[in-house]
């Protein structure tokens, strides 16, 4: 243990510069891997080969078998059949966690950081440096942790509690920790899902720097453009099988989507939206909304049937403004009118009563009660439609839920299934169903397609357009270009202020530049 822990502080040995590249075994090889959970076949004779020093993308829709492959490659689960080799050597026994840790590291979507402990301690948890009395030497621990982070150019104060770190820093710390075990193969499971554009760019920069130093990556993402940017090879899984492995260069996005979905499909193909008539009633009227430095003097009017985007990077205040509109936060000053009435600031029930439906930022924290059924979750905001005097009619609830399951094409055997059992895309549909349950006048969506596969994303955005067509005003707070593309106009926020308004038909680079606060004309 100690030797391993001590080793990585020194720069990792250079790899991948010999002439005999072809002779080297693949960094990771999985062959004929089959895994079954009860009735479901999670992986069906799937294979993957990752060359040393490559940045290899793994894509597939929810349920394609990506997560299962990750848990097999990290040794958390043993395959029912098939073989996994690291650098030509068969994988260690499942119980030998240390051996696994030396070969492969994984940064999961869910944090494996302990928020109460310092960064340094998280890095060296359970392998602290000890002095002669076998007591922990904090000074040397801090020094070693700082050295480790410096080796990988991660600038974080190691004595801060890890809970204070943002998602981005947390990920870098987790990557550094993974590398400190000696592993030079890192799996990144949707690392960009919670990052804004600038942070993603920094992550990619770092990945490239690490690749230079011989680190091999398996990169999992729902964002195809990220794969084009940072990966050199891509493997597509569909329905538990391997479909295709190809160099990224020379594979068109259309082909990639086709491989993922099993049909030729264009990513998005919008009919031009009919402009909203001037006479349409205003369903949201925000004037001079301010809250300290978080957001200032925000004016926003949304007409019935209009889709308005609220763009900006993390920390720009777009999410906070959206959360203020739905009553999750109270503004310090300014007024807010929803369909002619003024809900009490900071009151969600009042906002709901005024006709707001919303998809909160994070479905795991605010969107769903995981152990409650689909029916309970989708009808949570509309108790008055389920029965009188506070009683709930199970029959009425199930009927309503069934309608919404059909309406949003949620893949489930029935409304009584706990939402925890659904895939990410279907969970998000449940959240969307709930937002639509009250037949809202105003729909507020905060990062509505985060962590959702291409198909579900398209479906969810289609639903948004549909409800706008029925006369609902929509606000989408997101930095996801696909979400913003269907908006009639987009307000761009930067450091708490609205800095630009772009009508539909903007170019990607205009939008990104506006979000980054860069003036292209300058």
């Amino acid at each position: 243990m100690e030797e391993i822990a001590g080793g990585p502080a020194s720069p990792p040995p250079a790899r991948g510069d010999g002439p005999a590249v072809a002779a080297r075994p693949a960094a990771v090889e999985a062959e004929r891997v089959t895994k079954r959970y009860g009735e479901t076949l999670a992986l069906d004779g799937a294979h993957i080969t990752i060359e040393p020093g490559a940045t290899h993308a793994l894509v597939g829709r929810n349920g394609a078998g990506k997560s299962t492959l990750v848990s097999i490659l990290t040794g958390l689960q043993a395959p029912d059949d098939g073989e996994v080799r690291f650098a030509g050597v068969p994988a260690p026994r499942p119980a030998d966690r240390d051996a696994w840790r030396e070969r492969v590291a994984c940064v999961y979507q869910k944090s494996t950081i302990i928020p109460e402990l310092t960064v340094a301690e998280n890095l060296y948890l359970n392998r602290h440096d000890r002095n002669r009395l076998r007591l922990i030497g904090w000074k040397s621990l801090w020094r070693k942790a700082a050295e480790l982070l410096e080796t990988w150019s991660v600038e974080v104060d190691v004595r801060r509690p890890a809970g204070e770190l943002g998602v981005e820093q947390r990920q870098f710390v987790e990557i550094a920790r993974a590398l400190s075990f000696g592993a030079r193969f890192v799996i990144l499971d949707e690392p960009t899902a919670q990052l804004d554009g600038a942070a993603i760019a920094r992550l990619f920069e770092r990945m490239r720097a690490m690749r230079e130093r011989g680190v091999t990556f398996l990169f999992i993402s729902h964002h195809l453009q990220e794969i084009y940017e940072v990966c050199d090879t891509v493997t597509v899984y569909r329905d538990a099988r391997h479909i295709l492995t190809a160099p990224v260069a020379g594979l068109s996005q259309g082909d990639l989507v086709a491989a993922m979905t099993g049909e030729a499909a264009r990513l998005r193909d919008h009919a031009v939206r009919v402009p909203v008539p001037e006479r349409a009633p205003v369903v949201l009227d925000v004037r001079g909304l301010s809250h300290g430095e978080v957001y200032r003097d925000v004016d926003l009017r949304v007409r019935a049937g209009e889709i308005v985007g609220l763009a900006g990077l993390g920390g720009s205040g777009k999410i906070e403004v959206a959360e203020t509109i739905v009553g999750l936060r109270a503004p310090q000053s300014g007024t807010l009118e929803v369909a002619g009435s003024r809900p009490r600031p900071g009151s969600v029930p009042d906002s709901l009563a005024a006709g707001v439906g919303f998809v909160p930022r994070d479905r795991h924290h605010q969107g769903l009660v995981p152990l409650m059924s689909i029916a309970d979750n989708v009808t949570m905001t509309v108790p008055e439609r389920l029965g009188t005097a506070g009683f709930v009619s199970v029959r009425r609830k199930d009927t309503l839920a069934r309608e919404m399951i059909d309406n949003l094409a949620i893949k489930t055997p029935g409304p009584e299934l706990p939402v925890a059992g659904l895939s990410g895309g279907n969970q998000q549909k449940v959240v969307m169903a709930r937002a639509l349950a009250g037949e809202p006048r105003l729909l507020v969506l905060i990062t509505p397609t985060a962590g959702v596969d291409v198909r579900s994303k398209e479906f969810l955005l289609g639903k948004v357009e549909e409800s706008a067509g029925n006369g609902t005003g929509v606000v989408i707070a997101s930095d996801e270009l696909d979400d913003l593309r269907l908006c009639d106009r987009v307000l761009v926020m930067f450091h708490g202020r609205v800095v630009a308004e772009l009508p539909a038909g903007w170019h990607d680079h205009e939008m990104v530049a506006a979000m980054e606060g860069v003036d292209l004309d300058a």
């Binding site: 494996t112 948890l125 359970n126 076998r134 920069e205 084009y228 990513l267």
Partner: protein, 348 residues
């Protein structure tokens, strides 16, 4: 589509504008975490000053030793509870162990005839039996909580009632007197001019501070309480650590009970009854989180010290004994509210 990403990469971060969540920003690290340990020290000083004004006896050596001695027994429960809470569990049964462990020892060693004792064992067995009883209770708790995965709150609530009932059963509701000398030694002897129980208490707290702050085992407790999956992923044998902490907690409770038994030279059927509330209050006031992963042994010590100092001041101020309990509860609530406000974990 690819042009999007190209824009990301080339524009990067505009110069001069800080990254919203960026790597570039280096925080000036205030060692807040460690300051929190000493959060109660100002309160303790204030109480000391108030106490001195109320009654000049307060700061005299005898009175201070009196405070330390009366809190020494229950403080071991606070220590035990702090360890369990930091590991993300809780143990309500500690207060019953506090009574039952020495109770069983007394039952087996006190000569039959005058009281409820059986006199099966010679007096020298008193201390070993107390320790063994404590360990056994810890094993039962751990068996239910760790091995069978039952909820710690319910298990130890059940154990609290069962153990309390056992003590009432073996004692017939009476008090054990005429204890063997081995059992009264620790609670009644003086070492270097201070009662031995104070030495024992201070020593165990010192050990607790070292273990929790400077050993992998102690840090494992924080890790488990903070995020058990992450702890397991870091190679910590979480089940084994929880076994050890639950058994240690019961052992500490047994030792605490032994100290009180020695001081009172008896074991009442109600020994420890209701103590768990004070124990929780002291731990929480001392900064130990009920959700696990947060708090220190030193903080827990200041928590119980503060409560007992206040109690002492009230007594010295001549507050009628009938009112002390109500005031005590009020003080606990006030202290909790203050520690919540100053703990930096208020709502955003």
């Amino acid at each position: 589509m690819p042009e999007t990403t190209a824009a990301h990469a080339t524009t990067g971060r505009p110069p001069g504008s800080p990254a919203p969540d960026g790597m570039g920003r280096r925080h000036v690290a205030l060692p807040l975490a460690r300051l929190r340990d000493f959060a109660l020290v100002p309160a303790i000083i204030v109480i000391a000053i108030v106490g001195q004004i109320v009654n000049p006896i307060f700061l005299q050596g005898d009175n201070l030793i009196n405070i330390l001695q009366t809190m020494s027994e229950i403080s071991l429960l606070v220590l035990a509870q702090a360890l369990v809470l930091i590991a993300g569990k809780m143990d309500l049964s500690l207060e019953s162990t506090f009574g039952l462990a020495p109770g069983v020892a007394a039952w087996l060693t006190v000569a039959a005839g005058t009281g409820p004792g059986l006199g099966l064992l010679p007096g020298a067995w008193g201390v070993p039996v107390t320790i063994a009883a404590g360990a056994l209770i810890g094993v039962v708790n751990a068996l239910f909580i760790v091995r069978f995965g039952l909820n710690g709150f319910i298990v130890t609530l059940g154990m609290l009632i069962v153990l309390r009932g056992l003590l009432t059963g073996i004692s017939g509701g009476q008090t054990f007197f005429n204890l063997p000398e081995s059992m009264t030694y620790l609670g009644s002897t003086m070492w270097l001019g201070m009662p031995a129980s104070i030495w024992v208490c201070l020593l165990l707290f010192a050990v607790g501070i070292v273990v929790m702050g400077f050993t992998r085992f102690g840090r494992a407790l924080y890790a488990i309480g903070g995020n058990v999956d992450a702890a397991r992923a870091a190679g910590i044998r979480t089940d084994r650590v929880l076994w050890i902490v639950l058994i240690s907690a019961s052992l500490l409770a047994a030792i605490g009970g032994l100290l009180l038994t020695g001081r009172l030279a008896s074991v009442a059927a109600a020994q420890g009854d209701g103590a768990i509330f004070t124990v929780f209050a002291a731990a929480v006031i001392g900064g130990v989180s009920l959700n696990g992963g947060r708090g220190t042994v030193f903080g827990a010590f200041t928590g119980i010290l503060l409560l007992y100092m206040i109690q002492n001041v009230l007594t010295l101020a001549g507050v009628p004994a009938q009112w002390i309990q109500a005031l005590n509860g009020g003080i606990i609530l006030t202290a909790l509210a203050i520690s919540r406000l100053t703990g930096g974990r208020s709502q955003e």
